[in-house]
Symmetry: C2
Subunit: 355 residues, 2 copies
């Protein structure tokens, strides 16, 4: 194709562990909009320019596509018979989509009886083969690791190192759009892979001299699932923000290093704060995201309330990791019932305050 965005691998090939021999298994992910805040920025502080990196408009509607194009391309290069993961959310959807694109079978292990079909619907639509194991989620994880250790099967869970490589391209895109790095980059933190990947991306651009400064990384966990904030594993993580309901993050150490090295912060936001932020993003900025994504904005408000942005001139980027359509049940739950009116012009005009 002569023109246009070729997907993150082809566009950023020189920054990624790929060669000409690596197939580009792509759905033209990435190149997502960096949407300037119209109304909410002012609530942080007068000198704050705020942008939302809206990852919900990737092909499977979450940032996972960036990592999965890498993971599945490398799986195809290595001749994997199938991809495998234990996941019920955005990871399994992206794994299934890219595996379908590659013509490789996608296998998803789930605990039997545990998962509602609705959560899995997207992976199933992409043709994933789903196996319900007579065990719990940890059993599934143990099985997928054991299988990928001994057979030509590509593990595409968060342990897959190529996924972070793909995800770091979002930081490149932010810098390419702004012409520099922002002062602050806010992210929801669950498994902590994304904050790790962004920091990797920023550091690589910085070392290469593409950007002159680095952002401070601001991570936000849900209060009911905030092991990094508390400094201890959370045995029973619980939050409405299912995409960050993680008690023992896979990239805990790396994320801690990113926070330390960047001079950043990690804080917890309550479910109420997350849902308020979720509503504000859609009804005031026109951006509909997953509840987990809204942790970015909820956290920024928390910092603003303690004066963090007072008198500061800065650019802040907040990543919104997934589209609101990923969690339609939450949208319905949050929705108000319609008002009622007779079939009469005058009555409707009056209700609308136009009379």
């Amino acid at each position: 194709m002569p023109h246009g965005w070729p997907g993150v691998i082809e566009h950023y090939a020189q920054w990624l562990p790929v060669s000409d021999a690596t197939p580009r298994i792509t759905l033209l992910e990435g190149n997502t909009p960096l949407i300037p805040s119209e109304t909410l920025a002012g609530r942080l502080g007068e000198g704050v320019r705020l942008y939302f990196k809206y990852e919900g408009v990737n092909p499977t509607c979450s940032f996972k596509d960036r990592g999965m194009t890498m993971a599945v391309s490398k799986a195809a290069e290595e001749g994997a018979a199938c991809t495998i993961c234990a996941s019920t959310g955005n990871t399994s959807a992206a794994a299934a989509a890219y595996s379908a694109r590659a013509g490789i079978e996608s296998v998803v292990l789930i605990p039997d009886g545990y998962v509602a079909l609705g959560k899995l619907a997207q992976a199933l639509a992409y043709g994933a083969r789903t196996i319900a194991i007579d065990g719990d989620f940890d059993d599934c994880l143990t099985l997928v690791r054991a299988i990928s250790d001994s057979y030509p099967v590509a593990l595409v869970n968060s342990l897959n190192p190529y996924r972070l490589q793909g995800q770091k391209t979002a930081a490149f895109e932010v810098c390419d759009r702004l012409g520099r790095a922002p002062e602050y980059h806010a992210l929801p933190v669950g498994n902590a892979g994304n904050i790790t990947a962004y920091w990797m991306g920023y550091c690589e651009y910085h070392e290469a001299g593409v950007i002159e400064s680095l952002p401070a990384m601001l991570g936000f966990q849900a209060a009911g699932a905030c092991p990094i904030v508390r400094g201890e594993v959370c045995e029973k993580p619980e939050t409405v923000a299912t995409a960050i309901r993680i008690g023992n993050p896979a990239r805990w150490q790396e994320a801690s290093a990113a926070l330390r090295e960047s001079g950043g912060r990690i804080e917890a936001v309550t479910d109420d704060e997350i849902l308020e932020a979720y509503r504000e993003l859609s009804s005031e900025e026109g951006i509909f995201c997953e509840p987990a994504s809204a942790a970015s904005w909820a956290g920024l408000k928390l910092l603003a309330a303690e004066g963090f942005f007072d008198g500061v001139e800065c650019t802040v980027v907040a990543t919104l990791t997934g589209h609101g359509l990923k969690d339609p049940d939450m949208a319905v739950k949050m929705a108000l019932e319609p008002e009622k009116a007779p079939n009469e012009l005058g009555a409707v005009v009056e209700m609308l305050g136009l009379g």
Copy 2:
């Protein structure tokens, strides 16, 4: 913002009825991927290069965003107190999102008792004010027209002429990517606004000398809702492809002109053909779309079966109008139940044929 895609109005301003005084109410819609077919193209014919114009990755996950950025920007320019429409699907979602972005109230009229909250959830998430009228859908349409005729309220239904203006930019993008027009452009047809808009876009580029040839437009209706194919209003349109379940298209005449002038075709595809196409797109190309979108691919297969592409060298673009997450119920309905396995490495390895 110094770099990056600025949304369809700013990017194509010279082709649109806007001035510097027109506010750009944008969520950075457009610039959607033109995804090359990896596996399905070969089923049409050896000489066919097939691309999918994937409109599901717009901000509200359908092509409606292109028209709505225009309609709401003009509404804001004209000082509208609110936007209004009678819709329960993609139109109301886009209207609500762009109205929220503009800081204008969005009003959606629906027939009382008729609509499931799930269909409306996206519009409600964006903060739309929904009024259930004690009447049917035609009553709602009559009311919104009457209100917009007499009050400073912007009607953003399909009658709004700015919407077609915005939608035509998709044809521009196709030409800009390919460096020319395709030989054929396939589209699902419901209200027939989109096929009208694409044809308008191609013709404008052609008249201006940007492209040297024009595509033949291929329109596909659902067999249970195919008034243009039959040449008569369909009193009770019925199809799984809800986004094209229209019995009396608003742009019937314009679409007929586009088909005639372009030397195109319009055909009907059955629900079974649509659902098969829907499954093939997601499980073979990795592209998850609304059932209505799949009518594009279903129709192309129909033409191929009659030898339409035999011995022809050509480029075909098929528009996929909305994301599969728009209709999660259909995805669940189409999904297979997970297989079951014991928590035992050997058993799972055997099931996967790896043993």
